[in-house]
Symmetry: C2
Subunit: 395 residues, 2 copies
């Protein structure tokens, strides 16, 4: 059937990370994503050090494949006019400006829906478009810190650290994609678009889930647990003779399997450890026993013994993770063709759908790579008009 | 227009976390989610210690609101028959069993699409339904460890720690929801459903983004950075006279604003610090200067001085995060009515859509709360037939 979002057109005003991650997901699913960038510099991510390929930053490349790029000075009347012309046949507009910017530029939802009542506008902002903090600046780190998850990420008894990957931005991008897809679905029934207001902070709060509920019900304030868990045992890292391994034996049958595999079947029926609840209250004693067991063999040996029986794994550095045979077998490392025999490895698309017969991965666009084609073919601008727009720094 | 997924019916076979988080998102958007649970015990999350409310675990309550519950023994012929009857008028089936289980139970996509060609089946598994690891067990911690993000989460120079919130599961749930919504959208055009195969490991790999690209292009293997960043400076935590604050001044104008606000405007034009690239190579010197500055005032004073000018924030513990005025103003803490005057606070829905006039939050269901109504009203079973199903432990 082809890609599920084939035919969907997105104008993407967003930069750096949260918005581009949202449109990366939608682009991988077949939407046509046109990055609308500031003439001259474009998305600030294009210049982020320290790694570059073919003149673009690795950072930019990683989250902007399967997109087109056009430049447009939205502060000019002519630039706004072109944006409105494009909006007429666009399904979705994404931005991650501060609140109020699209209104000042005259490209807000209320304006665009008069041009195209089917349009869907999604904003991603640090704090959302409403509330006392709406005008304050915020990026990923601030959101991770204010949202609470940082306060319980870190070594037990240690200081808070951030999630290594910028989940403040990525959670926002993932929720925004869900909102946009839900709005596209609803539009099929109603014929009308709508506005979606994603706050990165709201998304962090959603991810508190049960730790939030533990606070509401039990007053418990989450603290860093290193590799451990608030409710589930045994679930942790263990030292071996070589590298550390992690295990998660949260279900009774899996715990019993672990006990059998380490030659201590009696542990599973021991009244101290024979249920989740009992393991919770006697976890220190259980961990002392298991620490001694895991110290007796190498990590390689433990993986060999346990890998098919219980959830266990190494803590992979990024090189190992990206060479993992399972990861490779799932097409999660793809090679993108840059022409002239140049190829670049990239991370693949995790949404595997049976009706996608062929995943498509095009390189991230050079700044303004598609401006002329879009103006000429889609809007009918002549070469002279395009040259004039360039002279005026509108594109 | 009402909730965007109003009228969509989901049979949710999933338990604990990744699948239930996916259907939490879809339920908040208006889908009818029926949890199909094992008679007697149900979803294992119902019994997770240590906090309970009205007999259910806080853990379960936090991710199962806006859902119905029916019990069904899928290993019995009668249970399978009932599932097939329900599947006839169901849009989506979600499961997070190990690969092969739905096939053994006779409720796999190939079987169900013969009953209902419009059905969409989504599985969430640790490693996916294909590849050399497909039959191995895995939960969140294993996925965080094997996927690579853990290896660069932690204090600089310290040992890896997990992301405090189970992002292995939640990323899977978020991507699954995106896949399901894309399939629902595509079905509007094709009339056909499809199968979605979400691997939690694939989702972790997607979240490596630019750190993956840094490895592919520059060979750089990410290491824990505490609160810091690989490319952007100044971005970190700073000690004050009271609590630590975090700042993120990744854009030149924001960095200049910081320099002005701390009375050192010359920093912004100093050739060592006057661009992202220069700050990257001279970050140690810059941090030494800023550490001294932040140590001169309290956290409260710095927030007061800087909060409107640059991205800055406290590292909120979960109690503070859930009392944050911005969070409250966005309806991210909601009160759910448990009847008899009992109310429970829960976390709200972060997908704010303009056509949702009224967000709806119903308590998580007691085990089997809706079995009889579904059997009677939807499938036409008589009270006698239902009693017989109970006697045979099929429901």
């Amino acid at each position: 059937m082809g890609l599920p979002l084939s035919g969907i057109r997105i104008l993407d005003l967003s930069a750096i990370l949260s918005g581009p991650y949202c449109t990366l997901i939608l682009g991988d699913l077949g939407a046509e994503v046109i990055k609308v960038e500031r003439p001259g510099t474009g998305d600030g991510a294009r210049a982020l050090p320290p790694h570059y390929f073919e003149g673009e930053s690795a950072y930019f490349i990683s989250i902007n494949r399967n997109k087109k790029s056009m430049t447009l000075n939205l502060q000019s009347a002519q630039g706004k006019k072109i944006f409105h012309q494009l909006a007429k046949e666009t399904d979705v507009v994404v931005n991650n400006y501060r609140p109020g910017v699209v209104e000042r530029l005259g490209i807000d939802y209320d304006t665009l829906k008069k041009i195209n009542p089917r349009i869907i506008c999604c904003s991603l902002t640090g704090y959302g478009e409403t509330g006392p903090f709406k005008d304050r600046p915020a990026f990923d780190l601030i959101i991770q810190a204010r949202g609470g998850i940082m306060s319980y990420t870190g070594e037990a008894g240690g200081k808070p650290v951030k999630m290594g990957t910028p989940m403040g931005d990525f959670a926002g991008g993932l929720f925004a994609a869900n909102g946009i897809l839900a709005a596209l679905y609803q539009r099929e029934r109603t014929g009308r678009g709508q506005k979606i207001d994603i706050s990165l902070l709201d998304c962090q709060i959603s991810l508190l889930t049960y730790r939030g509920q533990y606070y509401f019900i039990g007053g418990e304030v989450a603290k860093p647990l290193g590799v451990g868990h608030a409710s589930i045992h045994p679930l942790r890292d263990f030292k071996t003779k070589t590298f550390d391994v992690v295990i998660d034996c949260n279900m009774q049958n899996i715990f019993a399997e672990l006990c059998n595999a380490i030659g201590m079947p009696e542990l599973a029926t021991n009244p101290k450890f024979n249920s989740r609840e009992n393991r919770f209250y006697n976890k220190d004693e259980l961990y002392e026993i298991l620490e001694k067991v895991f110290a007796t063999k190498t990590g390689e040996e433990w993986l060999e013994i346990l890998e098919k029986r219980i959830p266990i794994g190494p803590i992979n550095a990024i090189d190992k993770a990206l060479q993992d045979p399972q990861v490779l077998s799932r097409n999660m490392v793809v090679e993108v063709d840059y022409g002239d025999g140049k190829k670049l490895k990239m991370i693949g698309n995790p949404i595997k759908m049976s009706e996608i017969d062929q995943e498509v991965f095009e390189p991230a666009p050079l700044l303004s790579a598609d401006t002329e084609e879009i103006l000429a073919k889609r809007l009918g601008y002549s070469p002279e008009e395009i040259a004039e727009l360039k002279r005026q720094d509108i594109i």
